[in-house]
């Protein structure tokens, strides 16, 4: 239990809200009592950060809750929340919970059909929208789904001519709520006292990999216990600064920007608009920060581009000190030994490079940074850690109320997602390699989908993640692939194509890779080179080429890619379970895999069946003993017409390595 929660249980008895702080409305009352003047939420509006204290926030929520009740909201009713991160939308969550309602945040950028599905499935009676854009979607949905009784909007702009009687201004709802509160002064607190930890707190819809979105039902206990565990694990305090900029419908935002704020009492800040997030980040300087790898990648790219444009002196200084940082920054962060010279250089670099850089990025104050959602490139991860930012990987899911594993301070590796989070147990399904977990955050059910619930929540409370992974001897989890994509080599050992492909793609010269091995004697791969990166390297080294195809066939290029593949093999050899997955043979494709040819999806994911069919001859050649493979393919020109290419591609053998069983055994003993 955290300190905040302990204080609460001591003081809770005098409050009308009940004796334990087991729901968010109760936590709200508690925070408004114990830290009434500390900021609870901030929003940048008209160029200024406007803040609400816990007491003010509690007032606003009370007015809204009573207003919702006045509109006819009953216990158990569901209310949709649609929009960017705004204080009022966060208040709606607590206000609904206070009178027994269930908030259903919806991804604000989803198209009308997707949104309609969620609203219908959740049978929402009420909705709170940010602005006209969202109200318009609701209008359309309401024609098909008349069950929506009232829509409340935050920003009135452009809605002046909308005269529907079921459309309400946020402020007028609160005003009616205040009047309702005056007439029924005991209503609000009595309603709050009715709820308990095992009641439904929220429904979060996840897209899932197949079929329609599923409504994950989470209880107050799920969220509050997970939030507490995270707070304790990272030592979060009431003075953390957090920027809430990720979708409110995402479980991560709900836990970091809502649940943990209510438990620890820290302030959450909402950016001015989606396009100002990076500036707001810089102004705010958060101490606790989370972002998907994509964002870290984009920021890094911007930094690199700007550095290339900078003066020669600045550029040289940057590269020199970044090398110092890569050598010693991470080790310093992890408290490992570093030579005195490097310590001095790192200190100088801190003044000249790292400090100013972190400041422009808004990372100066970050104590805990999380990244999650997908694999982050080791270079990117190391870059931020080398700067001295405590960036950590996290593995989680909506069904777990976020935390499944976290990387503990001082024990961080770029290729693992950390150890089981506090209170969480992990296991791997022997047959499929799938990761299973159980813990305090495990969801109650998928709303109205008992079959899905049963499939996911298996016997003994273990929950399937759908991801395949391995647990190392010292308890670190490595996610290797989606479980359904994992296959087996002829000898029965695990084969995770995406894991291998990602490892290859982390090299700057490799743009795309396709690994083969299911029901084969060993693993082999296709590689697509990155024309831009390899092209500029070729130019610098005086290697002539006229086209992608010529470049791809250059022996020098093969040599470099071979080095990359062998590096991957060396890494794989270190892990007894993945040792067999080493890539024995590979070839560089003569054309880029292309979405226009159906080889990739529009989001640039490899379509394995298409590739397997079109390049069947080449796959056969990879598993033959020849030095080349012949291929004839059809391709599409920019203008849509078709052409044919014939090619003989060189097949290269890569060195493989013996399993490094010894060090692992040592660690186990």
């Amino acid at each position: 239990m955290t300190q905040a929660a302990n204080e609460g249980s001591r003081q809770g008895d005098e409050g009308a809200a009940g004796d334990t702080l087991d729901t968010f409305p109760k936590l709200l009352l508690h925070q408004a009592r114990t830290r009434p003047t500390r900021p609870a939420v901030r929003e940048k509006d008209y160029g200024i950060w406007q803040a609400w204290t816990w007491a003010e926030q509690a007032d606003e929520i009370r007015a809204l809750a009573c207003g919702l009740a006045a509109l006819g909201m009953k216990r158990g009713d569901r209310i949709a929340i649609v929009g960017d991160n705004r204080p009022r939308l966060y208040w709606t969550m607590t206000a609904a919970q206070a009178i027994g309602g269930v908030p259903v945040p919806v991804y604000q950028d989803s198209v009308t059909d997707e949104m309609a599905f969620v609203l219908e499935h959740a049978e929402v009676r009420f909705a709170v929208c940010e602005d006209q854009e969202q109200v318009d979607k609701l209008l359309e949905i309401r024609e098909r789904h008349p069950g929506i009784e009232a829509v409340i909007f935050d920003d009135a702009r452009g809605l002046r001519h909308y005269k529907m009687d079921w459309l309400h201004d946020f402020e007028s709802v609160q005003e009616n709520g205040r009047a309702f509160d005056r007439e029924n002064p005991d209503f609000y607190e009595a309603e709050i006292a009715k709820a308990h930890g095992d009641d439904t707190a929220i429904m979060l819809y996840t897209s899932g990999t197949t079929g329609n979105p599923k409504g994950v039902v989470l209880t107050f206990d799920n969220l509050i216990k997970s939030a507490e565990a995270g707070i304790e694990f990272e030592g979060l305090r009431e003075d953390e600064e957090v920027l809430a900029y990720l979708p409110m419908a995402w479980v991560g935002d709900h836990l970091f920007s809502f649940a943990q704020s209510y438990v620890a009492g820290f302030c959450v800040s909402c950016p001015e608009s989606a396009s100002t997030v990076l500036q707001d980040l810089r102004e705010l300087g958060p101490t606790y920060f989370f972002a998907p790898p994509r964002i870290f990648e984009n920021i890094l790219t911007t930094v690199m581009v700007r550095m290339e444009d900078a003066g020669a002196l600045k550029r040289r200084m940057f590269h020199f000190f970044m090398n110092v940082a890569r050598r010693s920054g991470t080790r310093i962060l992890d408290g490992k030994p570093v030579s005195t010279m490097d310590r001095i250089l790192y200190a100088i670099g801190k003044v000249l490079v790292y400090g100013p850089l972190k400041n422009t990025l808004g990372f100066s104050n970050v104590r805990v940074g999380y990244t999650a959602g997908e694999a982050i490139g080791p270079d990117i991860f190391e870059f931020y850690r080398a700067l001295g930012i405590n960036l950590k990987q996290l593995y989680g899911s909506t069904e777990a109320s976020v935390f499944i594993t976290i990387q503990p301070n001082g024990d961080i590796r770029s290729d693992s997602v950390g150890r089981a989070a506090p209170g969480v147990e992990l296991k791997i399904d022997e047959d499929t390699g799938e990761v299973l977990f159980r813990g305090p955050g495990v969801f109650r059910e998928y709303y109205k989908s008992p079959k899905d619930t049963q499939d996911t929540k298996t016997e003994g409370g273990w929950v399937r993640t759908g991801d395949a992974g391995v647990i190392t001897e010292d308890g670190h989890l490595k996610i290797i692939d989606r479980a359904k994509d994992v296959g087996h080599l002829d000898d029965g050992s695990l084969f995770a194509p995406k894991f291998l492909e990602n490892k290859l793609k982390f090299f700057p010269f490799i743009k795309e890779a396709v690994a083969f091995g299911h029901k084969r004697p060993h693993v082999s791969a296709f590689v697509n080179i990155d024309l831009e990166a390899v092209g500029s390297w070729a130019e610098r080294n005086g290697i002539p080429y006229g086209s992608y195809r010529e470049l791809a066939a250059r022996p020098e290029v093969y040599e470099v890619i071979k080095g990359n593949v062998e590096q991957v093999n060396r890494d794989l050899a270190a892990d007894p379970r993945l040792c067999k997955s080493q890539i024995h043979r590979f070839l560089i494709l003569h054309k880029e895999l292309d979405a226009d040819d159906g080889e990739l999806t529009r989001t640039r994911k490899v379509r394995r069946p298409v590739v397997a069919e079109r390049y069947g001859e080449l796959i056969d050649a990879l598993y033959g003993d020849g030095e080349t493979g012949h291929i004839e393919t059809e391709f599409t020109y920019e203008d849509g017409s078709k052409g044919h290419i014939q090619a003989d591609l060189r097949i290269e053998r890569a060195e493989t390595f013996a399993a490094e069983a010894a060090p692992d055994l040592k660690m186990a003993s």
Partner: protein, 278 residues
């Protein structure tokens, strides 16, 4: 965006464009002629702009559209004719005097203060609203400073309205063209004009930017009730946006009426609409 607006308007039962009726005349030009060294740019043109409407001025290149705006806003002084504005016949006046009477404008090729930030550019639109005289402002002291803050607040509302928060501090010279046009509109709005003249507000924009700009123009008209006169080449945009259209050709008025009427006018079809436009 503009489609979404239209859809919403339909389903919400909001009034459709033809339903808008305007009675009070804000500005009328009567029998205006303007020539430069013997070359006639405008000959005997008369039309009016009603309070609250969106009025389009269209015509082929060289039809005298921009000259007309320049006459209204005081850059050019017509040799003949008169301008009645808010019920009074207007004297010959300079652009800054026209601005004082509540006429704001944007320019075909974006005339921003390139070295200044977005915020400073928009703040210049507030100069006329500042009550303290130059002396106090020069001292930047006491009441002048307080007033500055008050104007800043107004400007922030416009920044919010036009969704340009992210470029508040960026020197406008560095902005892409579409955003520069938006900043220019913001600067004009900061003047709280009665009449807003827009010279090809969507020139050089891609489809998405045009949709955004159309939405902003409609919103400005709707939220602030600003009367707008605009020159535009994109006929589709003109038909969607405007309440009434006046068509000029070789400096003469060819037609005047609702978009519907104008587009059915044979003279207009011959002179202009028949010609494929970009």
């Amino acid at each position: 965006m503009s489609e979404a607006y239209a859809d919403a308007a339909v389903s919400a039962g909001a009034p459709q464009a033809p339903a808008r009726v305007f009675t009070e005349t804000l500005l009328s030009v009567d029998d205006i002629s303007l020539s430069f060294g013997g070359v006639k740019a405008i000959s005997n043109v008369s039309f009016d702009i009603k309070q609250g409407e969106i009025r389009a001025i269209i015509g082929p290149n060289g039809a005298g559209k921009t000259s007309m705006l320049n006459v209204i806003n005081g850059f050019y002084h017509p040799q003949q004719g008169r301008i009645t504005y808010r019920g009074k016949v207007r004297k010959k006046m300079r652009p800054n005097e026209a601005a004082k009477t509540g006429i704001a404008r944007t320019f075909q090729n974006v005339a921003l203060f390139k070295g200044m930030s977005t915020l400073d550019n928009i703040m210049t639109g507030r100069l006329l609203k500042m009550k303290r005289n130059f002396f106090w402002q020069a001292l930047y002291w006491g009441p002048a400073k307080a007033e500055e803050l008050q104007h800043r607040e107004y400007v922030e509302h416009i920044i919010d309205f036009l969704e340009i928060q992210s470029i508040r501090r960026t020197p406008v010279g560095r902005l892409p063209y579409g955003l520069q046009k938006r900043v220019e509109l913001a600067r004009a709005l900061a003047m709280e004009p009665h009449l807003l003249l827009l010279d090809e507000p969507m020139a050089g924009m891609n489809v998405e930017e045009k949709e955004d700009m159309s939405r902003f123009i409609l919103d400005v008209n709707d939220e602030f009730g600003t009367t707008i006169a605009l020159i535009e080449h994109d006929i589709g945009v003109v038909m969607d946006l405007s309440d009434r259209v006046v068509v000029l050709d070789y400096g003469r008025k060819l037609a005047d009426g609702t978009p519907d009427e104008v587009s059915r006018d044979q003279k207009v079809i011959d002179a202009y609409l028949g010609v494929p436009h970009e």
